[in-house]
Amino acid sequence: MSDTITQTSETRPAIIVDHVTKTFLKRNSHSLKEAFVGWTKGKKVRADTFRALDDVSFQIGEGESVAVLGFNGSGKSTTLKLVSGVMEPDGGRVFTRGRVAGLIEVGAGFHPELSGRENVYLNAAILGMSKEQIDARFDDIVAFSEIEDFIDQEVKHYSSGMFMRLAFSVAIHVDLDVLLVDEVLAVGDEAFRKKCTEKLKELTQRGVTMLVVSHSMGMVKDLCPRGIVIHEHKVLFDGPIDRAVEIIRTTPH
């Protein structure tokens, strides 16, 4: 592996994924006892490996919005987790530039026993904001989520829609250069979804780089001019979104 990487995106890349391979273990036994019993019966005892990503390379230029498309289990979410740093690749390298934050299943850090207000602070801090920044944006966050009246209620009394709206609203107000979006746009009603899409577009205009994983082709076409199709753990196509969507529709499952 050389120390230099050739630029393939038009602008300077914000995300580099370079020949990345990710393998998971598929365990066949879960305890010593099980392993022993399995062994006496002549079953397979040792773990199998399962390749989730196989030599995946791409670069996302600064300010670009790119969709990652693929069927369930093709390795899309794994790709995003590698970029966010939650997982590490087994082979190859991943680099990012600037502040990366994930809209990855927003609400992961919410605690049901805390009030909406406390959760806003906790989650904004989890996404890397300082107290001053949160103080300054708190009103915007609440206004965007449209749950002003319930902000001091415990989150466990929220409806699922309210919960997701607040969580999304926190994530979208974080200062960032690179935003990773994983299937979160299925939140709320039609009107709120539209508002979210508008907000994401606004971020793109501000120069935020975006990497989106979604099954919603309509939304993806609306947000991203470029699409990467991952099929059976490899990059099948990387190019204009219309063509990418066409490929995913014609590829047999």
């Binding site: 990487i5 740093g85 680099f95 990012t96 801090a125």
Partner: protein, 296 residues
């Protein structure tokens, strides 16, 4: 075609371990606050439990060791104070160590989805244990004052040193077990065994002289290398010794005999062992951290 200067880039997920926590002070504070705020949610008695539970356990120990086995009648003057000072010290360790061990698994949802310096969770767990220890410390101070406790600077210093040793040791061993526990849930059970032993492996219910008398010098040396033992003895020195007269075979057989031989060296040993565990714990934690997201 241009080549890219990689020095301007970050590698996601590679932090500087526990040092990164300083950059995330605010989040650490919120995590601690979350822990204290939700600990007794939906319970009517709330923080009263923090007083009631250790007191009940204390009375059981006192009844068995003090009254039935006779520690209170002969051997240790002001035995309740002696017992309580050591007891809450070990409780602090147990709570910190137990919380830290389960902290990564307990914060599964976050660890799997967002990258943070994961050391935040065990550290917040230990700070939480300390907050929980404070009410017990308050009881100890009140009880000590009732026994006529008039501490000097040295006594206060000893108490602080004891608590620092516990914190350091709990952090090290807590990091170690928190990391291991993600892949091997056996760690949780093993940690519980250690916690059960902790009370007995330190001079909480008896005095260090009994170890020397019944098991010899060699065992005493090993015994004293336990950082919890050193911390318990420091707490005894801080809260119990100011209330009793020095030992005298004829006039005051129940008094304070003094520290175990070479106690100053054992303080050093405790600090070194604590620091060593932090290093080992951090190294193991970092090694296992790479696969946290897929093992959870």
């Amino acid at each position: 075609m241009t080549t890219i200067d990689l020095s301007e880039y970050d590698v996601p997920g590679r932090g500087r371990g526990i040092l990164d926590v300083f950059h995330w002070r605010y989040l650490l504070r919120l995590l601690v606050r979350k822990g204290t705020a939700t600990r007794y949610r939906n319970s009517t008695l709330g923080w009263t439990w923090s007083y009631v539970k250790p007191l009940i356990q204390f009375f059981i120990y006192y009844a068995v060791m003090g009254l039935i086995f006779g520690m209170a009648r002969g051997g240790v003057a002001n035995f309740p104070l002696y017992l309580f000072a050591g007891f809450i010290t070990v409780q602090f360790f147990n709570e910190a160590f137990g919380n830290a061990t389960g902290s990564i698994v307990g914060n599964k949802a976050l660890v799997k989805k967002i990258y943070l310096p994961r050391e935040l969770f065990p550290l917040a767990a230990i700070i939480n244990a300390f907050v929980h220890f404070l009410p017990q410390l308050a009881i100890l101070i009140v009880v000590a004052l009732l026994y006529g406790w008039r501490p000097g600077l040295l006594h206060i210093g000893a108490a602080l040193l004891g608590l620092v040793i516990i914190g350091l040791f709990a952090l090290g061993i807590g990091l170690l077990f928190a990391g291991l526990n993600v892949r091997f849930r056996d760690a949780e059970n093993f940690a519980e065994v250690i916690r059960q032993l902790a009370t007995w492996a330190s001079p909480v219910l008896y005095t260090w002289q009994l170890i020397q008398q019944h098991m010899g010098d060699l065992v005493l040396y090993i015994y004293m290398c336990n950082p919890i033992t050193v911390a318990v003895e420091l707490m005894h020195y801080a809260f119990w010794t100011p209330t009793v007269e020095p030992f005298d075979a004829d006039t005051n057989p129940d008094g304070w005999v003094g520290f175990a031989p070479h106690f100053d060296i054992y303080i050093l040993v405790a600090i070194v062992v604590g620091a060593l565990f932090v290093l080992i714990g951090q190294a193991t934690f970092r090694r296992f951290e790479r696969t946290f997201a897929q093992d959870l």
